[in-house]
């Protein structure tokens, strides 16, 4: 049946710069904010913006991701006529077809899009933390009569060299892209959110698919080709909180942002709910000896230590006389007694032995603790040389 706009959510990225966090886990499935996974923010934006026809393109280690999104129930995207569809690479009579780039992933699912005969296609990525009403960008796209509209945000000038910069006229029409410029003319960076007129995008995708030297990427290939042909490309200026959690540093920072009393991204905003699963753990118990300040704590936690500037996902237990600062503890973490953690990220179900001290100094990257890390580096004996080093560090 006909739909005005089909949303294609790219969730296949490897997320290499997240290192340990994306080992066997697609980046959109990485836990975030004490109860969510990164993709929950984008999926919640979809339902809150009434974008009901969503294809989610997966490729890399999708098991947890597929289990998490299912058919979209937590986001009310389990629908009879459209709703959420997972689009994984598949084999057909011509053989197997992995997705080669962001544009190629869409090209390989042209049949899916055509089913809904849409006027517009919106392309999103499942990698960012933000609240955005996609109805507004669609609105602008229609009003400006654009062929493509790119959502953009003003970034600090010193960071412009990390982004794709859009140079526009006063009316926001784009006349130039600069990919990670050394000396940017502008601080308006692309957020990787695009709206296209489908008939035009389809033509460009088919053309791009024939090019042998293309990376089949929107930012590198398709959009520059459209610009070169003089198509109407507009920027949509987004104002609000937006964070690319592409590195362990920025992932950690985004969590510290959540602990500020007033950031423009509230997960308890009744007008813009963030949806996710719930695993039905019991209520959280702060015991007689527990204390929590400037922290987010989820169900099933038992806290007998001191928590400060930290995020505890569900079912984390902290024993007495331990101190957790500026840290992020994933579901099922067990922290023994007399432990000190500062600027540490602990992965799911990891147990931190008693008396462990792990501190990353402010100029270091936060420490990511996995089971292997515990086995290799945190021997429970007090006399381990590494442990000594750590302690002295503190």
């Amino acid at each position: 049946m006909k739909k005005e706009c089909v949303t294609m959510l790219l969730a296949g990225g490897v997320g290499k710069r997240l290192g340990q966090l994306t080992k066997n886990l697609a980046k959109p499935a990485v836990p975030f904010g004490g109860r969510y996974r990164i993709i929950d923010f984008t999926l919640s934006n979809c339902i809150n913006s009434r974008m009901h026809t969503v294809g989610v393109l997966t490729q890399y280690s999708p098991f947890e991701l597929h289990k998490h999104i299912g058919i979209g129930k937590p986001w009310d995207l389990d629908r009879m006529e459209d709703g959420l569809t997972v689009l994984s690479p598949y084999m057909n009579s011509e053989g197997g077809n992995w997705y080669l780039g962001t544009a190629d992933a869409i090209t390989k699912n042209i049949n899916f899009i055509e089913r809904y005969d849409p006027k517009y296609v919106m392309v999103l990525s499942g990698d960012h933390i933000y609240h955005m009403n996609y109805e507004k960008i669609l609105q602008q796209h229609k009003e400006t009569n654009a062929d493509a509209t790119i959502s953009a945000i003003q970034v600090p000038w010193k960071e412009t060299s990390r982004f794709g910069i859009l140079n526009t006229t006063e009316s926001m029409r784009i006349y130039e892209f600069e990919e990670k410029p050394k000396h940017a003319k502008n601080n308006l960076a692309s957020m990787g959110i695009y709206i296209f007129n489908w008939s035009i995008l389809k033509r460009y995708l088919e053309k791009d698919a024939m090019l042998l030297d293309s990376d089949h990427d929107f930012g590198k290939d398709v959009l520059p080709a459209m610009l070169a042909d003089g198509m109407n490309l507009y920027a949509y200026k987004f104002e609000g909180y937006w964070k690319d959690v592409g590195t362990i540093g920025s992932y950690w920072e985004a969590h510290m942002d959540l602990l500020e009393e007033n950031i423009p991204l509230s997960m308890s905003d009744n007008e813009w709910l963030t949806y996710s699963h719930d695993s039905n753990f019991g209520p959280q118990l702060i015991t007689e000896n527990g204390k929590a300040t400037d922290s987010l704590i989820n169900n099933g936690c038992i806290v007998s230590g001191k928590i400060d500037h930290s995020v505890l996902f569900e079912n984390v237990h902290i024993d007495k006389a331990s101190s957790i600062k500026q840290s992020i503890l994933f579901p099922g973490v067990r922290v023994g007694s007399n432990v000190v953690l500062d600027r540490v990220i602990v992965k799911e179900n990891v147990t931190i032995p008693d008396h462990t001290v792990l501190v990353a100094s402010p100029n270091e990257e936060p420490i990511v603790v996995s089971e292997e890390y515990v086995k290799e580096k945190l021997q429970p004996m007090e006399e381990s040389p590494l442990l000594k080093r750590m302690t002295s560090n503190f």
């Binding site: 904010g33 963030t274 959280q284 015991t287 300040t293 400037d294 987010l296 169900n299 079912n315």
Partner: protein, 367 residues
């Protein structure tokens, strides 16, 4: 294979919780930070592979229906089986039945359609986290007509009104009484053969009875093979404001907490979309439950805070049970108190009940 269906019978549950049961039946009363009373029985049934469950509602069941919804949160929204809420039927002139027998009578087709050979019947006042399969196995092994789930409590005035059970050494029930000096308490949960249920219901209706357990089971005690199955895990019964308050605060002891909420043995409830609880710079919380959606800037001690409760700077909450979406404003003090949903306690307000008799604030008020 012998199988079991579930029935949660609310017909004879009393509205004991004063303000808390003014607009809702006891089964729908919020409990333990994020649940309603019925969640425990319902989750225990689900975990015991009972996947077809009927609920006899009596009155004030709108919030119960809203809570249960489609049953999806208890995995009961299935085409095979599922959750059936059976409200009372309007009067039918030809129908002379009363009490829970009226429910059985009006809904007998439901029991007939079901293929299970046994029915587990429960109220919602017995709180535990258990699997009924052992009880069922005992019922089958002893080839009982009826098997009662029993437990033993210290003698106290708290269980004075519960039914008590006398048994022979082999576990056969010899008497069901109200003996105040008997610590062997009937939990209100029992399994009965469906064919026997049909037979006893019919007899009770024919003789104008109105309480199935009293008139159908107790009255026929000596003609039936009634067994008891003793449960020794953590449990308690709630049938007064006093036991509600006392047993709620008792959950703040780690030992009790871990018995009612062992990791891996989940109690299901209606899913909400609240953010994790937020503790701000001036928060000072100890020995308390804080549910999701809470934002704490003040002091909370020995208390249970349900979802979405805000405690502002300088406020003090002590020995309190505060239900969903309340706000305790700056410098207010609440102590020995139960506050129903969506109440705002204004700045500088001071409210204190006695430890023996907590003060109850009805819902949606500003005080």
């Amino acid at each position: 294979m012998e199988s079991l269906m579930g029935l949660i019978n609310l017909e004879h549950e009393h509205d004991f919780l004063n303000e808390l049961t003014q607009t809702r039946c006891p089964a729908a009363v919020p409990f333990a930070g994020r649940y309603r009373m019925i969640d425990f029985t319902l989750s225990n049934m689900t975990k015991s592979n009972i996947n077809e469950i009927a609920v006899f509602t009596k009155h004030k069941y709108r919030s119960l229906m809203h809570h249960l919804g489609s049953g999806v949160d208890w995995e009961l929204n299935k085409r095979h089986g599922g959750l059936y809420i059976l409200p009372p039927q309007e009067n039918n002139q030809s129908d002379m039945s009363k009490g829970d027998l009226k429910h059985f009578c009006n809904n007998w087709d439901y029991f007939e359609r079901n293929k299970s050979d046994h029915v587990l019947i429960s109220g919602t006042s017995f709180i535990s986290n258990m699997n009924y399969q052992e009880l069922f196995q005992h019922h089958l092994d002893t080839n009982a007509d009826v098997t009662l789930l029993t437990t033993t409590y210290n003698l106290s005035t708290e269980h004075e009104h519960c039914l008590k059970v006398d048994t022979a050494t082999n576990g056969t029930v010899t008497a069901i009484t109200s003996d105040k000096n008997n610590p062997h308490v009937f939990s209100g949960i029992y399994i009965i053969k469906k064919s026997l249920l049909a037979e006893l219901v019919e007899k009770c209706i024919a003789t104008y009875k109105e309480h199935f357990f009293i008139d159908g089971i107790i009255a026929n005690l000596h003609r039936l093979n009634i067994q008891s199955y003793q449960y020794n895990g953590y449990s308690f019964m709630i049938h007064s404001v006093d036991s509600y308050y006392k047993n709620s605060l008792a959950l703040l002891e780690m030992n009790n907490y871990k018995q009612l909420f062992p990791v891996g043995e989940k109690i299901y409830t209606k899913i909400s979309n609240h953010a994790p609880a937020k503790y701000n710079t001036t928060s000072n919380v100890s020995k308390s439950f804080i549910a999701t959606g809470g934002v704490i800037d003040g002091a909370v001690k020995n208390s249970l805070l349900f979802r979405g409760v805000k405690v502002q700077k300088g406020a003090v909450v002590k020995n309190a049970i505060i239900l969903d979406d309340c706000t305790i404003e700056e410098n207010a003090h609440v102590e020995n108190i139960i506050i129903d949903k969506e109440v705002t306690v204004s700045k500088n307000q001071f409210l204190k009940g006695s430890e023996k008799q907590p003060f109850i604030v009805a819902k949606q008020k500003t005080v």
